[in-house]
Amino acid sequence: MSATTATRPAARRTDPLLRARRIAGRTGLYAAGLAVFAFSVFPVYWMIATAFKPGGELFAREPTLLPRNPTLDNFDQVVNGNVIPGVDFWQFLVNSLTVTLGSVAVGAVLALLAAIAVARFRFRLRTTLIVTLMVVQMVPVEALIISIFINFRQIQEGTGVELLGTLTGLVLAYSAVSLPITIMMLRGFVAAVPKELEEAAAIDGAGHWTVFWRILMPLVAPGLVAASIFAFITAWNEFIIALTFLGRSSETYTLPLTLSYYFGRYGTDWGSIMAASSLLTVPVMIFFLFVQRRMVSGLTMGAVKG
């Protein structure tokens, strides 16, 4: 390779035609980059801009880049408009937060313990378990919710514990959905902690809890954060389970479900729809921007190096 191409850099520097082609190529590359950038970013801007536009400006033949008379009416409509009669907007927010944080907490504890078990201890069927976890990760939610839905129904009929149409059922279902991937993410982190470190601490007289809290936890914490963010986003965005499990109990609806009602009720009022979309999205955006690096390192560490 070096023998055949060794003369090329010199040639490239002198040949004006090649240089022109390179400049043209680079310009093309940057133009393409700019186009993709616009494709990615502009719709987000447009969503937020539309949210501030009053009714008249929404449906103009010549759309304006900035709202001419920015207004908060659309947001007011979202918060005070009672899209589903009898239920406050804040109730939906509380529902979403309850379900999301609940499933993140349940999921984090279970995933951590299961990941330690899978990464640290040899037991019969360990490999089988790891493989099936990976396979389950690929199982479409639609295939799982049929049986979860039926099982919840049967539990409800058998024991009277309400799982459909309640937030408890949703927390359980969401934890189950994100567990396989969070366990796989955490497994890499637990496996990366040198066993000798724990043994050394044990020799120094540390009990199991001390080893767990002082040695393992600080090293696994970044992975736990990454897994939690992942579970958070999954639960916050989740739609089909909420749609099918909550049924008609509108007082338990989560925000994505509420958003779909906005479209049903105010289909032509883009201002409100975009205001609602912005309102649900911007907090997640701000939160994620603080933690994004951890999430990517968590994803790649668990899966690429695991």
């Binding site: 191409t5 719709p43 759309p63 201890f121 639609e142 295939a143 049986s147 099982n151 965005n237």
Partner: protein, 310 residues
């Protein structure tokens, strides 16, 4: 450690070690059992349901029918249509968003003023709730009269196209590519930044062209990151439900229904548990096969290109 165990009599130490091992494992057991119950069992139960004829609307209709549901599924034209839509959505979305993601990541890997801000802005589509993404594209973007896409494309004579109803597949794929590009970009960027500078410098010293460097050095290094992106992307895109539900409702007719949407219709509007479960199982097997094949295919072509150079 060896000093501590060396002095103790062997059998007693082993017994103590075993007891200690169990003391360590016991607290983990419930978590493991719960995980197995909630993640593995539903799938097995789904397989079990798929062998039965069972409609919730007809109580007492539940009977064991063996593989009949699978036969019915594979001769169901709507299912086959939804399956081919799913493959199309997934392949188009994953490949296009990965290509765009690699491109953006390569650009972001260079130093330029405002890089952090650009990077942050580029991630935002991934953070929008999928339901909101679907609404954004359906209304303000693709609306035939007041949509931005029509406005931008008017000079090209495409101003009056009703994208969502005339080209539902293109519309849905566009929205999904938009949503998934940042995810691919983030993964590839993580891969690029873990690449050693010395390898690149060595390549430059050897006089490799940009393209040769990309195919010969960068791409093989990115392989595991791209694989991961394709794999996770496929898994999630195959499962896309909210975008279809909000944008097209699977329509017009069943033109843009994918498998999750069709399964949803059959389960929760038709209450046909047996056949829906069979479809779910088929989707699982299909996802695994397609994801594995896609990975092989992509990398065989790249790897042969690499061998051609070196």
């Amino acid at each position: 450690m060896s000093a501590a165990t060396g002095t103790a009599p062997a059998p007693r130490a082993r017994a103590a070690e075993r007891a200690q091992g169990w003391a360590l494992r016991a607290p983990l057991l419930p978590a493991l059992v719960f995980t197995v119950v909630v993640t593995q069992l539903p799938f097995l139960v789904t397989v079990f349901y798929s062998l039965q004829s069972w409609n919730l609307l007809r109580p007492g209709s539940r009977t064991f029918v063996g593989p009949a549901n699978y036969l019915a599924v594979f001769t169901d034209a709507q299912f086959l249509g939804a399956a081919s839509n799913t493959v199309l959505f997934t392949a188009a979305c994953v490949l296009v968003s990965m290509a765009l993601g690699v491109g953006l990541a390569m650009l972001l890997d260079r130093r330029f003023p405002g890089r952090g801000v650009v990077r942050t802005l580029l991630i935002t589509p991934f953070l929008i709730i999928p339901v909101a993404t679907a609404l954004l594209w359906k209304t303000t973007m693709f609306d035939p009269v007041f949509g931005l896409v029509g406005f931008v494309l008017t000079p090209f004579g495409l101003g009056d196209v009703d994208w969502v109803s005339q080209y539902p597949l293109v519309s849905v794929v566009t929205a999904m590519v938009w949503q998934w590009t940042p995810f691919m970009m983030l993964l590839v960027l993580a891969g690029l930044q873990s690449q050693g500078r010395d390898v690149i410098e060595a390549g430059q010293v050897d006089g490799a062209s940009r393209w040769q460097m990309f195919v010969g050095i960068t791409l093989p290094h990115l392989r595991r990151y791209i694989e991961l992106g394709v794999l996770l992307g496929s898994i999630y895109v195959v499962n896309t439900f909210d975008t279809i539900y909000m944008m097209t409702q699977g329509g017009p007719g069943t033109a843009s229904a994918n498998l999750p949407f069709y399964i949803y219709q059959r389960t929760f509007l038709g209450f046909d548990i047996g056949q829906s479960a069979a479809m779910g199982v088929v989707v699982v097997v299909g996802t695994i096969i397609v994801a594995t094949l896609a990975l092989r295919l992509i990398f065989r072509s790249f790897m042969s290109a690499q061998e051609g150079i070196s």
